[in-house]
Symmetry: D2
Subunit: 331 residues, 4 copies
Amino acid sequence: MGTQSKVVRAVRGGAVSGALGLIAAGLLLAVSGERVAAQDWVQSPWGADDELGAANLMTPERVKLAAELVTEGKVYSLGMIVGPDTPAFPPRSLSLTVLQPGQNGNSGLGNNNFTYNDDIFMGWLGIGPQIDGLGHAGVDHVYYGGRTYGDFAPASGLTELGLEKLPGLVGRGVLLDMAAYYGTEMVEEGTAYTKEDIQAAAEAQGVELREGDVVLFNSNWMDLLDGDAPDPQRFGAKEPGVGVSGAEYLAEIGVMAVGADTWGMEVVPAETEGDAFRAHQILQPEHGIYILENMDTRALADDGVHEFLFVLGQARLQGAVQMIINPIAIR
Amino acid sequence: MGTQSKVVRAVRGGAVSGALGLIAAGLLLAVSGERVAAQDWVQSPWGADDELGAANLMTPERVKLAAELVTEGKVYSLGMIVGPDTPAFPPRSLSLTVLQPGQNGNSGLGNNNFTYNDDIFMGWLGIGPQIDGLGHAGVDHVYYGGRTYGDFAPASGLTELGLEKLPGLVGRGVLLDMAAYYGTEMVEEGTAYTKEDIQAAAEAQGVELREGDVVLFNSNWMDLLDGDAPDPQRFGAKEPGVGVSGAEYLAEIGVMAVGADTWGMEVVPAETEGDAFRAHQILQPEHGIYILENMDTRALADDGVHEFLFVLGQARLQGAVQMIINPIAIR
Amino acid sequence: MGTQSKVVRAVRGGAVSGALGLIAAGLLLAVSGERVAAQDWVQSPWGADDELGAANLMTPERVKLAAELVTEGKVYSLGMIVGPDTPAFPPRSLSLTVLQPGQNGNSGLGNNNFTYNDDIFMGWLGIGPQIDGLGHAGVDHVYYGGRTYGDFAPASGLTELGLEKLPGLVGRGVLLDMAAYYGTEMVEEGTAYTKEDIQAAAEAQGVELREGDVVLFNSNWMDLLDGDAPDPQRFGAKEPGVGVSGAEYLAEIGVMAVGADTWGMEVVPAETEGDAFRAHQILQPEHGIYILENMDTRALADDGVHEFLFVLGQARLQGAVQMIINPIAIR
Amino acid sequence: MGTQSKVVRAVRGGAVSGALGLIAAGLLLAVSGERVAAQDWVQSPWGADDELGAANLMTPERVKLAAELVTEGKVYSLGMIVGPDTPAFPPRSLSLTVLQPGQNGNSGLGNNNFTYNDDIFMGWLGIGPQIDGLGHAGVDHVYYGGRTYGDFAPASGLTELGLEKLPGLVGRGVLLDMAAYYGTEMVEEGTAYTKEDIQAAAEAQGVELREGDVVLFNSNWMDLLDGDAPDPQRFGAKEPGVGVSGAEYLAEIGVMAVGADTWGMEVVPAETEGDAFRAHQILQPEHGIYILENMDTRALADDGVHEFLFVLGQARLQGAVQMIINPIAIR
């Protein structure tokens, strides 16, 4: 990691803290500013400073065409319900607390007795239905656009590629029902969706994949959480999902986002022993494509829907890597 | 507070904690189960057990009509960027931390060197662009549908009216540009949008308010945060907004949600001295209408847009009262 | 609760937030300032403004005498280890995260390669070994010194009685081994330590209770957590502990703190059906005595120690109600 | 970083999560188990598996002798009050929230109306008065006993060297008043306490440094926080403190802990340009000596106290690196 010989520390808190000595000590050593250039993939097609990646494909033309897919006005909520018991990638956890500031032993604020509940969240943002922003996945500390870790990822929040930069994702949603394609109730763990599988499923289901699409894969894997025989242990241990050739194919088409109804979108165990989340790398740092996990696609699949208007407005939290989401599909 | 003679404590944590003595002590005193019935407003038109309120108005017909408002494919992100410096209702605060589990002094997971950033959120959910779920605002500890505080709001999360129940809000969005209506750059604090104002603004701007709409008010108040002369102190001290007759009028029409580009949606100071957030009470507990705060409506106003497709998919966090959101407007 | 007709909201955050409208709205209604005076107990013997309660008994004379109890130099750590699995009063929970800011893919700060681990805590402070500050327990929203809830307990932290006011607790520690007194391996749940029991145990164990003491009770209840047959469910469901006459007796003697090796110090279920934590009320609001819970007293009991130097230095977190602690006993 | 070729990820959460695919994927690559052996310092004098370091010096003999230093019974609280405004090493921050579960609009639990306040802490443990456990400071990802980062520091908490292992620190406390030694009201930033300074100050103040001591340095630096002319910016920008030869001298003597009334204990800027916290490395990974920061030593200095009984009982939070503390000095 020669280009990151020293780390730069982002400093928050300003006047009071005075950076507690780091500035004084001359330790805020400059990062070179040169991004890793050895690999071709670090050259974003949208320019060296681009922070949006495939969200650049969200053109008015595509949005307008996607809106025309609404023929029935039926709304699908793709975000599963998330709580402290939702299986999460270790050691992620979350906790919610409801409280009522200043309202004990009284009737509330004002003559009209205004009372209210508030809530506090403590936990990780990569739990349950989530978007992986472009700052999430990297190759040996190198991220989208060739940014090295030291360039943009201090503990105080991403200074580049944070999810506050993303206005949202709106476009044509495509559902490939892999359970139907494989002719099974639920796709087995370890099943890799290859390029050939994706092509064949699309053809069988009469839908074409296009540049700028949000492509979702349905495996009915969530039946392991809320089906007749829940097995959250099995849910989290492995999963079916996008394979390496599948990810490369989706990147070649130029989709905007790839989602699935599993915790990690891609096949686990990996097709090649010793690999770890290789599809994430193909999609995110190498092609700027967003990843959506734990998308509950079952209602779409049950209705035989393969094209729809996809609308995601994730909270724009400054410096955030991931976010708990609830994309809306409308047909 | 005779109707809530004793509190029931929701117990979380299960097997390990054994409720730490409360069950054993016989202290889980039963709540009567009878909801407050003295006031007419506690009778929800959607039934005694309804938890969705005006979201029941989200019918396929209305959604389909709303989608037809998309004529240009232009996307507006209504959620302002939110961070630790965003003005918040005291003592709400938030903090974000980015971290990279297990990735120091090594090249990541697997032969393919998978590295990744994760993040932790600590703070209140009622900060920045937010939805007030129906469990937020009450009258003397009584909430939507006549639920008393003790019925549904333990510290471990709302057992009813939690935002996980809401699939999202999709419908016809209407923008009333109050700055344009009043002929000013920015509406002054303390300006109450009365029934007459709302009617006149709608007429002047050629838009009709209908049942099931999401009605947003633009005042350009956010210029106080990011305009030429930022004044976050003034931003948070008072605000223009919906007045009492305005709220009653919107409830009478039967809108689904009311939003504004201010921190509290309604006028502050109140029209009647000594009142506190009376419009919240009219909309939420009395009519089941959702409230959206800190909506950045300026781009819509600048484009002269008054009708659009509104899509909100808030994270479905179990038991949550409020949520940081980013609704999408498409025209 | 007539004396608390309206609540005062403490406002934190200052310049930026501008209190978001509350000040402007004139809603910071003044609390009367009059403290509840109906009951005798609200008159603290240490004056109306006292915030230390029985810690006023920590005189140099007593401390010096206590230090003379150190005859062997043996140190006992009374704080049990606490983590996410520690049984906690619902819905309390905690989480710890270790991270290494700015240290991925590099060798650390400076020429000397300084690397470091940091950690984040998210959770409740009333878990595991804990001190209940004088702001913890009350009678119908009235607390030590007659302070009503609205006087001092905003969500932003206690403005009076916070644990930052307490310098620590140093004095003569006394252990009463109730398991030995009852002649049992472990005292059963529901066993109330009455005045007579306490007197008899002290006499049998040859130790006198004095004003200013820190009195600890050993029941071996923690064997349910780490003994041969762990039963955390039973640990948390009920407990042996101080009864009403016992608490009154300890208050009459004028002890400084009362602790036990159980989650709640006092007997559960209560001696009188329908009572809830009555001993807490006798000790805290009515007499200003500190409560220490989940104290691991077994090593002291095993060694037959009944008198020792007790030293507690709790973190002085501004506005805190409780604190996870680790008092030190030295004999 | 050849010795740490791959990371092992500690997995928390157990049955439910199923480790979300990592185990299945065979990615829990084994760490070699061989500790870094190239440098001499990694050989702990207390054995290869030792996790206590210099706390091994806390013998009954030393404790007993220390207790004999109590001649007046005067108690000093060394932990400064800590809150959200306490200057902290970026990006560390903290927040406290007080709440009253289940107590709105009612009179509390049971016939005796038990009401109570609880509190939640969100933030970093390395703020204000703090102990650096032996897992805090390292040299290029190598820590006390030659443990590499991958051996013991997963995000879910330290698996070795966590502060739950430390029972506390009790011993002879020694105060060196460096402000008096230098003849100044407050020692200037950048002033390094060298071996010669430490020897001379001890001699001038009539106190001998011994093996097992807890040595505290007073500079009156905290006057910058609460003195007549507060300057928190200056407080946090630099600091006087222990220099390299000073740290080596203290290690040579074999002290148990080194503390100071500054945020970082050691001199900033460093004596050698480009160095970062070198004294931390000498004390912690190389000699197993504990570090105490932000100790308010002024009252001891004002009283001319140079020897005392030092008692620290830090909360024993599983896997914790640092902890907010309040050591007690008694003379």
